[in-house]
Symmetry: C2
Subunit: 212 residues, 2 copies
DNA sequence: TAGATTGTTAATCGATTAACAATC
DNA sequence: TAGATTGTTAATCGATTAACAATC
């Protein structure tokens, strides 16, 4: 058990380190990587790499570096990437379909194959009952039952902005712990629920600022 | 001209303030909003709102607040949202199509309607020459000519991870100033080019860490 | 005028970087 | 052993918050 709270930004970098180690897995034999090299590939300083890793344990050997395969396993464990994660999609519009296919198509052995889309919700009566990518579309009010029977870890929200807060409330109510929201609205949820955002318009607007 | 460099995170919040003011535009008559209220809606402290705005000028009135319409116009100007922004899509896969439709469907008056998709690139010979959403698909090597003739502000990259760096190099070469990359790889570009990332797998992995 | 709220400065908080003893 | 690199502490840097005089 760690003594101190680890900042979000550290977790984000751990994911990036894991990604680099996954790419290195192809190389054969035991293989050591230094904070120097890992940092270079990740675009951060060696000191930062060491500090990030040190908040979870002592994974390296002085004078040598980190054994790549071992470090990968440690990171997978820290980041809960060593077990399947159940994902629900809310809103089977174009984006919802694209994401579902993207995650399902994930080549075996890739990092995304731990995510399993086990539920799809949409309020459109014409979509309810249909099957998409092997999953039957349910109405949002079927969430609590689904949650109870099979459990869900993360909800991906690709619903219209106007519906987002309502759907978030539903998820919170049902006990989902993490939301990935694609709608361009801030969601208000209790502290024990994590919300991340993916907001294309916001990114484009931010980029616009830096133009000439 | 501002004296000091404004941090990225401030710009990101300005976009959020603008979004809130856009929503308020519907309300009629002159309308003042305080840093208190704007902060509440944006999920930040009033002091932060005032400090963010103050890095670009004095837009408020003591004892009253900020005139909503005026502040909106100021922010639109600061963020370059008062002129059309030309966007290119690289990679017309499922995600590329979804994003193109999303940006084109933007209801008039919404924040996204300043972004115009004026070019689509894909290396698949079967797609080249086809028209999607009124734009003809070109091969990537047509970029320099396109750039010269019409100009492009931002490139959205929805290409496979393996092609991302190559496409980024191409964009840099052609003089594009900002990239929004959906491929799960870090891009190495010169300092004068901005890269933002939208990385669903990374977000899901980060969220996984916080589960139970 | 009295009440409210800005713009700004100083204080606090937190994250990054530098440096180095420990040690493989 | 000599060279290299870790884990960790102290120094630096930067962003957020608190506080308040100015003023509408």
């Amino acid at each position: 058990m760690r003594r101190f709270r680890v900042p979000d930004v550290v977790i984000r970098r751990l994911v990036i380190y894991l990604r680099i180690l996954n790419e290195m897995e192809l190389e054969t034999g035991p293989h050591y990587i230094s904070s120097q090299e890992l940092g270079q590939r990740a675009g951060v300083s060696p000191a930062q790499v060491r500090k990030d890793l040190a908040s979870f344990g002592e994974f390296g050997k002085q004078g040598v570096g980190y054994e790549a395969h071992n470090l990968r396993e440690e990171l997978r464990s820290i980041l809960n990437q060593d077990r399947p994660i159940k994902v629900a999609i809310f809103g089977l519009g174009e984006l919802g379909r694209a994401l579902t296919r993207y995650l399902n198509r994930c080549p075996h052995g890739e990092e995304c194959d731990v995510f399993h889309i086990t539920a799809i919700f949409d309020s459109d009566p014409r979509k309810i009952g249909q099957t998409f990518e092997g999953v039957q579309v349910s109405p949002p009010d079927a969430l609590p039952a689904k949650m109870e029977r099979e459990g869900l870890d993360i909800a991906i929200m690709t619903v219209p902005a106007s519906a987002a807060q309502m759907v978030a409330d539903l998820c919170v109510q049902a006990g989902i712990q993490a939301l990935l929201n694609f709608a361009p609205v801030k969601l208000f949820v209790p502290d024990n629920v994590r919300v991340h955002y993916s907001d294309v318009t916001l990114e484009l607007q931010q980029l616009s600022f830096y133009l000439s």
